[in-house]
């Protein structure tokens, strides 16, 4: 174990700050790891352990087939179709599959609904569990120490950092993804959107609102995560 770790440690160099494995460090990616992964891939292909075209297809899946657009469609459908919403809350796996989504890291979904008196937010304090089929791979902040550590002890402080202040009479309920259940927050439909089509509604739904660190705003303001 030690050898590999030291190797990565050396590759990472002294540029990383303990506890802050964040985007900034990504800009200082050691070129060494680029080479290491390239060599590793070649070795594994040569040994017949992985198929290069399969790797291409996997990367394509992660980058293009999954992502928060999927989850946004689920949310918009739930907002516009009460029967669908009922199915979504009662049997999320089946309801999400109705829209064509499901699979790895979304096998056992739980949908939690926000109301005027209840705000749900999702974390994985132990690692990086996240509902891939509907939200894609998690953003860096979700799998980093600051969020993982404080989401459970200071959820309101965390929400404030995301620009969301909630009154004390709203219950903040944090879901820690300790088991194989994966959570999708069903945010509140914003006021004044009665006229919008399902598609237009889906365009309002952000990734952060489905993790529960933001609300859905009535009008789209530029590009939000």
């Amino acid at each position: 174990m030690k050898a590999a770790v030291t190797a990565v440690g050396a590759a990472a160099g002294a540029t990383t700050t303990p506890g802050l494995a964040q985007a900034q460090e990504h800009q200082a990616i050691p070129s060494d790891l680029t080479l290491r992964v390239k060599s590793l891939e070649s070795l594994l292909v040569e040994k017949g352990l992985v198929d290069r075209a399969a790797l291409d297809a996997l990367v394509d899946t992660f980058e293009h087939k999954i992502g928060p657009r999927n989850g946004a469609r689920v949310v918009a459908r739930a907002w516009t179709d009460p029967a669908y919403k009922q199915r979504l809350l009662a049997d999320p796996d089946r309801a999400i599959a109705e829209l064509g989504y499901g699979g790895q890291q979304g096998e056992h979904m739980v949908v939690v609904e926000n109301t005027p008196t209840l705000h749900n937010m999702v974390v994985c304090t132990l690692c990086s569990c996240y509902p891939w089929p509907v939200l894609g791979l998690p953003p860096i902040w979700y799998k980093s120490a600051p969020y993982r550590s404080r989401a459970v002890i200071d959820p309101r402080g965390v929400l404030r950092e995301f620009g969301l202040e909630l009154p004390d009479d709203v219950e903040v309920r944090v879901w820690d993804s300790t088991a194989e259940l994966r959570y999708l927050v069903l945010p509140e439909r914003p006021a004044g959107t009665q006229e919008l089509s399902e598609e237009a509604l889906a365009a309002l739904v952000t990734r952060d609102s489905m993790i529960g660190v933001a609300k859905v705003l009535p009008a789209k303001e530029g590009t939000r995560p």
């Binding site: 680029t34 992985v50 992660f62 699979g103 993982r148 002890i153």
Partner: protein, 219 residues
């Protein structure tokens, strides 16, 4: 294991720094590595809990200092070596050992869509009696196994209410040790924030933790 990965409740890691318009991968190698990890998993040489344990067992200082994908590299190397799929020497020398027979990869491009769609369910269709019921008061056990567990430290010894029974799932503590799946019920257990953190917490706030039968006792 009481490791640094068990971060819930710590306060000194600094601000959360969301990145605007974050790409799925920040460099090509991150995507290749994520794909390699998924593809290697189809050999069935390790399960998700062994994979997590491997990652958690990396030295604490490295765990905190490295980025998610840098840690993944260490996890892949450890997993290859421990499973015998590849040796450290082969990884270091960047070529297969002399006389190695070429294998046939289980995951081909044509199978990727099905691999993703089928997933890797951890629910088990076996008749195991539930030890607890919705509405029941329970206490998370005070256990400190030196091996993999999914009972976070902040919940141990705390009183909660079973909110919902999700059915029977693979138990990570044994599954990570190769000791079998020991399928048992998983519950949503709701703790008040005050039970977990004391008076500093808001009275209405709650934390729901998904916990297995073996993590709980009646209270």
């Amino acid at each position: 294991m009481n490791g640094v990965h068990d971060m819930g409740g710590m306060q000194d890691f600094g601000p959360i720094r969301p990145e605007k318009n974050e790409p799925v991968f920040h460099a090509r190698w991150e995507g290749r590595l994520q794909a390699i990890w998924s593809a290697l998993g189809t050999w069935g040489k390790w399960n998700i809990d062994i994979g997590r344990q491997t990652r958690e067992s990396l030295p604490a200082v490295e765990y905190l200092a490295l980025t998610y994908h840098q840690l993944r590299y260490a996890q892949v190397v450890e997993s290859l070596a421990a499973s015998g799929l590849a040796t450290r020497a082969e990884i270091e020398n960047k070529r297969p050992a002399k006389g190695t027979q070429k294998a046939v990869p289980p995951l081909t491009a044509a199978k990727v869509a099905a691999w993703f769609a089928n997933g890797n369910p951890k629910k088990r269709d076996v008749a195991v009696a539930a030890k607890f019921q919705a509405g029941q008061r329970v206490r998370a056990r005070n256990i400190n196994p030196p091996t993999h567990t999914r009972l976070p430290r902040y919940a141990r010894g705390k009183l909660g209410i079973v909110e919902r029974d999700h059915g029977v799932f693979v138990f990570p503590d044994t599954n990570a040790q190769g000791l079998g799946e020991k399928p048992q019920h998983v519950y949503s257990v709701r703790f008040t924030a005050r039970e977990l953190w004391g008076e500093q917490a808001k009275p209405r706030d709650t934390v729901v933790v998904a916990l297995w039968d073996d993590y709980l006792e009646s209270a």
